[in-house]
């Protein structure tokens, strides 16, 4: 079917995994396929897309999966539509349409065209689960039975596939004909590079607890969404029992105290900060807890997790509600500062809001950022794309993915958005609860700065002031502009160069004509590239000059920071589709600001300028 094209961009949907995992990836040659990215905001585009949407809805190619009134604007409604093909959802295909008094005012999302595929699976769901269990050393199905979907592949084709979440905290997209894994989604959203503060900072704060036999326990029942903080006491078995579906928690998992005077810093900070973040969401952006449905918030501390914290979405956690796990540094400092707790909780909010609107979360996907040269060099060695191989530790040699003989550089835009908005709301929560300033327990634009001898890990105000990754070319700073963002090469892990059936992300990038090796792919740059977004957030509020683009932004000022926060939140909460690019998020944020404050408002001008400054909006 022919569709109006608001903008064309090459979209590469394939599985993202950590480079060390080297999971099988999406098949076939990345010759590039065309999806349609929709940013319709003017009358002509809106009318065209309105007609197209109506036609697709009548043809059952789009299904309205959610329609809700705007929480902020009278007369507004938000529709979430998911693309279907013969009754089967298309992975990453969907639109968000906002209407004012029944008339569309913005349409954003992605639509795939040219789908022609047999919708009858060869394999049953049970067969797929058994195969996955074999491949994952015994992982079991977590949550619902596998469901069918249409999966867009690198070569412009589509595969009928199953989507199954297993107890190894991964969701697999499995070819319904061959049984091959097309894509893997790591369900654990981590705060991998961020350390967390501790009550050792000496701050005294109130704990909302519950009286229980023998004293008190970390169960907050005062807030709309109850908060429970579990103490795994260093036991992996306990953590797994709580975390793995069906997550089972018992009263003994609570942290307890005889006299309600708590002296365990990880417990105190986690429990209190989770409450503060719930307060922030409620007061500042009108969102209740994680799921906006008063679902219980579960956090676990004293795990054996080192230098990390993560959010595990449903079906993980007790009652399958998802949960947060907070670790510690190697020096045993808990990773539970306010910004890190808020960061993880925002992961939960992002996931929940996307799930509720579209039935899917914010899905990891690789986007082609650019095509590199045909030949790069490593020292004095010349490396043509067509003949270069990547040697795995086990000796396997992976040819590189090329397009027209040129290296293909990709990154995980949705993953970057996940991390970027989490950083943004980690910062926002700090400013909401703490006085601005430098030093401990003060709000700033740094992440994890209150973790003793660990942070800061990222700086939204001056991203380049911190090192993102070491490399063969030296230390590489965090990017303050999309042009400086990390992009990665891909290797063909299955099939041939001409017809790859699976690819893997490599810890290689290209600077000029030089090969640069990195210690990690960071899941496609999800953390290391997140500063592009958080820096835009900073510029929109505080103003200033972007060091790369030279564009100067007039910020809204600290007194008006709530307007910028609400715009970002609205973009994620009401507008963002499942598989957005960074540019989509930028557009969505501008649209959100226009909705809330008007097209000529200072907020909209500042956000647009900020997005331009970091290279996400022209």
């Amino acid at each position: 079917m022919s569709l109006p094209i608001a903008s064309l961009r090459v979209l590469l949907c394939c599985l993202l995994v950590a480079s060390s995992a080297l999971m099988a990836q999406a098949p076939t040659a990345p010759v590039g396929r065309r999806s349609i990215d929709v940013y319709a905001t003017n009358t002509t585009e809106l009318r065209t897309w309105d007609r197209t949407i109506d036609q697709m809805v009548r043809a059952n190619q789009l299904l309205v999966v959610d329609s809700r009134p705007d929480p902020d604007i009278e007369g507004r409604r938000h529709e979430s539509l998911v693309q279907y093909y013969q009754g089967i959802p298309v992975f990453g295909g969907g639109l968000s349409r906002q209407a004012a008094q029944g008339v569309a005012v913005s349409i954003i999302g992605t639509v795939f065209e040219g789908i022609s595929i047999d919708p009858a699976p060869t394999l049953s769901a049970d067969q797929v689960v058994r195969a996955l269990s074999d491949e994952t050393s015994g992982a079991r199905l977590a949550g619902d039975a596998p469901s069918l979907l249409i999966f867009p592949t690198l070569d412009g084709g589509y595969r009928l596939a199953y989507r199954a979440t297993m107890t190894d905290a991964k969701t697999y997209i499995v070819d319904a004909t061959s049984g091959g894994v097309l894509w893997t989604i790591d369900e654990i959203k981590t705060q991998g590079q961020v350390g967390v503060g501790t009550g050792a900072l000496g701050d005294s704060k109130k704990m909302s607890t519950t009286s229980a036999a023998g004293g008190f326990r970390t169960q907050d029942q005062l807030r709309p969404a109850p908060i429970r903080t579990f103490d795994t006491r260093g036991s992996d078995a306990t953590l797994n029992r709580i975390l793995q579906p069906p997550g089972v928690a018992v009263d003994a998992d609570y942290s307890v105290d005889a006299d309600n005077t708590w002296v365990d810093p990880p417990v105190v900070d986690t429990h209190v900060h989770a409450g503060w973040v719930e307060d922030y969401f409620y007061k500042q952006v009108g969102w209740t807890a994680i799921d906006n449905r008063r679902g219980t918030i579960t956090a676990a501390v004293h795990s054996n997790l080192v230098n990390n914290a993560f959010f595990a979405p449903p079906p993980f956690g007790p009652e399958g509600r998802g949960m947060f796990v907070f670790g510690r540094t190697v020096a045993n400092v808990p990773l539970t500062t306010l910004d890190i707790v808020a960061h993880e909780m925002m992961h939960g909010v992002t996931h929940a809001s996307l799930m509720q609107r579209t039935g899917l979360g914010l899905l990891d996907a690789l986007f082609i950022d650019r095509l590199g040269p045909t030949t790069i060099t490593s020292g004095s060695t010349s490396l043509p794309c067509d003949t270069t191989v990547y040697v795995l530790p086990d000796g396997r040699r992976l040819p590189l993915v090329c397009q027209g003989g040129r290296y293909v550089l990709v990154s995980n835009h949705p993953g970057v958005i996940h991390e970027g908005v989490s950083d943004i709301f980690g910062i926002a929560a700090e400013f909401f609860h703490q006085q601005a300033g430098a030093g401990p327990l003060r709000a700033d634009y740094k992440l994890g700065e209150d973790v003793t001898d660990f942070g800061p890990n990222r700086a939204a105000d001056v991203p380049a002031s911190l090192t993102a990754l070491p490399s063969s070319a030296g230390l590489i700073a965090y990017p303050d502009h999309i042009s400086r963002a990390f992009s990665f090469l891909m290797g063909v892990s299955q099939g041939t160069v001409a017809n790859p059936t699976a690819v893997v992300l490599l810890p290689w990038t290209v600077q000029g004509n030089q090969l640069v090796t990195l210690p990690t792919t960071d899941g496609g740059g999800v953390h290391v590239n997140s500063t592009v977004l958080s820096h835009a957030f900073y510029l929109a509020i505080e103003g200033g000059r972007n060091a790369t683009s030279g564009i100067t932004v007039q910020g809204v000022g600290a007194a008006n920071r709530a307007q910028v926060e609400k715009s970002f939140f609205r973009a994620v909460n009401l507008i963002l589709p499942n598989v957005p690019s960074l540019q989509t998020l930028a557009q969505a944020t501008v649209v959100a600001s226009i909705d809330l404050y008007g097209v000529n408002s200072q907020t909209t001008l500042s956000i647009r300028q900020a997005m331009q400054a970091v290279g996400l909006v022209n």
Binding site: K205, K206, S208, R223, K283
Partner: protein, 250 residues
């Protein structure tokens, strides 16, 4: 010796010293008794303030209750007998009772945050005060003709004050608990006693040898300490009472 009692004695001495000269011709018989029954009105304001602490959410808050004690009706009975010429000794009882509408204002600690108190205020109705005073009086009497009689009196007074007082209060709050509103007060019957003084005068007109009517003015005062909720509060009692009623003599 307290100052009010000193004042009382000075008044008595002056009164008694003057009485023989003024009322010498009355010819009062020692041992003759009398009864004064008055319905009256106690005027004057004894508003007072109670400052209390409130422990909530692991933090102290404070609240102040302002009690509005205004004028009100009183009832008084005095009986006595002449002991020497124009001098009589009497014992009187005065009861004063009325409601004391009050207002409460304070701050309630936040359940989530230190040093973020939430102001509350409200009116409290239905609080009662009762003052019971027993007056021991030296009385100088002065019959003026056969029907008119004048008295001046003074002496120590024993006050007992019962006052409904607020010990704590409830408040209404909803998440996110940044505001709270007054709910209701917890009230206890508190009481205290103290010795004070009284001075006054009475004019009576007798229709017959034994029955008459008259009017009195009495000023009595004491500061009573009332213990409540772990604190002691000074409450003023008494005041200027004016009334009239039955007069009997035997």
């Amino acid at each position: 010796m307290t100052r009010p009692l000193q004042t009382t004695l000075i008044v008595l001495i002056v009164t008694l010293a003057a009485a023989p000269a003024v009322f010498a011709q009355a010819g009062t018989v020692a041992g003759r008794g009398f009864i004064i029954v008055n319905g009256g009105y106690q005027v004057g304001s004894h508003d007072f303030e109670q400052v209390s602490t409130l422990r909530a959410n692991v933090e102290d808050g404070t609240f102040t209750t302002d009690y509005d004690v205004k004028s009100g009706p009183s009832f008084d009975v005095t009986g006595g007998a002449t002991v020497w010429r124009l001098l009589a000794i009497g014992v009187g009882v005065t009861r004063f009772s009325r409601s004391t509408p009050s207002t409460l204002s304070g701050s309630v600690p936040h359940p989530f945050f230190f040093k973020r108190p939430r102001p509350v205020s409200g009116d409290i109705a239905g609080l009662e005060r009762e003052e019971l005073a027993i007056h021991v009086e030296a009385i100088a009497t002065a019959p003026i003709g056969r029907r008119l009689q004048v008295m001046a009196f003074g002496g120590p007074s024993f006050f007992r004050v019962k006052q409904d007082m607020v010990t704590t209060f409830t408040w209404a709050e909803t998440y996110p608990f940044d505001d709270a509103s007054f709910g209701s007060a917890t009230v206890v019957d508190a009481d205290g006693s103290k010795l004070g003084f009284n001075v006054g005068g009475d004019v009576a007109f007798f229709f017959s040898r034994q029955v008459g009517v008259g009017g009195s003015i009495r000023y009595s005062a004491a500061t009573v300490e009332i213990d409540v909720a772990g604190g002691t509060h000074d409450v003023k009692a008494g005041g200027l009472q004016a009334g009239g009623g039955l007069r009997l003599r035997f």
